[in-house]
Symmetry: none
Subunit: 188 residues, 4 copies
């Protein structure tokens, strides 16, 4: 059956995600992932050749989900509105999956994730790139190198989530204020 193993595979990935958040990559042995996933240790190796690949797949899995948030631009809406929608969506995505954010943070800094996958992880921003480009053409956004603008935006997203998703830090900043600051930063 072409779906063979899909259940187990998912179970392993999900168990791994949970444990990675809880204990960090290097304190999460494969044996514990197996136990949490309800499989045997050897089974993991039927799906993933080694731990590195497993971790990379987690990274990719999250990035893929992130991508699905922005399949196409809503060209029928004003640019500013699209911008708001985009930022709100991505931030809410991680707020709803705080473990995803935690994992991404851990992995982004880790040498385990291949350069290739890290590059691929930046894809979701391409949609934003298009949006910014259009905005620049309409002279709504500063005429600055687009990469610089994207860096600026992603930094803002990151720092917001960083505070929001970190334990010990419970003050819920206003998302609207934050998005407004970002917009004011980039707008013409």
């Amino acid at each position: 059956m072409y779906l063979y193993g899909m259940k187990k595979r998912e179970a392993i990935l999900n168990a791994a995600i949970e444990l990675l958040v809880e204990k960090g990559i290097h304190n999460t042995p494969m044996s514990e992932i197996a136990k949490a996933a309800g499989t045997g240790m050897g089974t993991i190796y039927n799906y993933f050749p080694n731990k590195e690949v497993l971790i990379n797949e987690i990274y990719v899995k999250i990035r893929k989900q992130e991508e699905t948030l922005f399949l196409e631009l809503r060209t029928d809406l004003p640019i500013k509105t699209q911008f708001d929608i985009y930022l709100t969506a991505i931030i809410e995505f991680f707020i709803n999956h705080p473990s995803y954010f935690n994992i991404i943070q851990q992995l982004e800094a880790s040498p385990i994730i291949t350069h290739e996958n890290k590059e691929m992880g930046r894809k979701p921003i391409e949609m934003m790139a298009k949006l910014v480009q259009i905005a620049q053409q309409n002279r709504i956004v500063k005429n600055v190198d687009i990469d610089e603008i994207l860096i600026f935006i992603s930094g803002a997203i990151l720092s917001y989530l960083n505070r929001y998703c970190t334990p010990y830090e419970k003050k819920h900043s206003s998302l609207k204020n934050h998005i407004r600051m970002v917009w004011d930063g980039i707008k013409e």
Copy 2:
């Protein structure tokens, strides 16, 4: 000698920093740190009770240096100028010590650094907090919760450095543009 051990201690910390950047925390055995520092393995344990403490001290060491950048506000200068100075200084500090930035990134996400030290690491931003407060009183900066503004600013700094200091990514964004965007984001 009253400077007992300062030489060895420093040698160990510096060797560790270099290796941490090169290979990541968990691929850097204590034995290699010792070798790189030109000491015996046991010597490390004369200065640091275990690896965790050593790593934490590296984190603290960097944060302490960061702190020295902002001992006092230059109240004789216009706020906007102070703001530029501050941001430029912090960003240039890390640009001049790219390994420091790399380390901080690795460690900020790591469960090895104690909560206490992470808190302490946020001190440098307190100077900025004062500046923002004054700016708000003068209605130069948006009347938004000060924490939100600081998050916004630090996010911008982070993302800029992230691009700048990451290997594989050599396009040097314009610092001026970046700072301008930050300012436009927060200004009234």
Copy 3:
């Protein structure tokens, strides 16, 4: 197999016993135990979480075997006869397993064995306690606090074995004489 691991577990315990006698606890690395048991180092840790537990289990194993010597009193026999049987049995048990006695001696004085296990190690003497109690009721044994009598008896056993099982000391004292002295010591 429902006997999972019994083979390896036993092999490890037995190898450890042999080495402990030969070289003492602190001169017996886990790696050597593994080699002697014909397993890999890691295997030991599949059965015993650490060295301390392994050592404790050896202690318990021996004490458990000792216990089986005295499952029930032979109430059909005269008390004095039972007394002889008991003492002879326990002394012969250790004479037949001189390494067990050596181990017990080493471990009894060691802070590695938990208080709980040490307590449990005194169980075998409880059978003797019953016997003494009956003897006292029949006014065959001195009317002295039973614990004192048991201490006296176990001391006698210990010292006999100590001489008998110690290397360098080959003079075989007469067991009968020894038991008679013990009896004379406690009899009314």
Copy 4:
């Protein structure tokens, strides 16, 4: 001066004794002994070539003190009285120095103490041997191989002290009862 170092030497031995009781031989590093003795680590090695020798000297030191208890027989007294005096003296010696007993117990089972020193440790019993011999000649004590009798006696002493000096065990057995049992055991 011929007393050179006597102070330091004693300080080291005493500190070591204290620590050995508290933590066991193998959990007492030389560095801690030095600290407790108020000397530098290197100083220890001016008095004792290595740890083994230091430990052996502790053993010898205690045994020597034990010896001084019985410099000569009190031939003016009845044998039974001498016997009582002897046993009481030795038991009270260790009751007054419980750490000595603990050390002796630890060391007797340890391969660190040389065979030579262990043999020497049995000297104190020679006085008792003489006493027993005389008693046998007077047909007061059983005509059994003298070594067997000595083993019996020392076992009784040991077990009494064992209970008395062990932590967790606070019931104070009556010394008189114990000595009476020993006597009854050996008397004709």
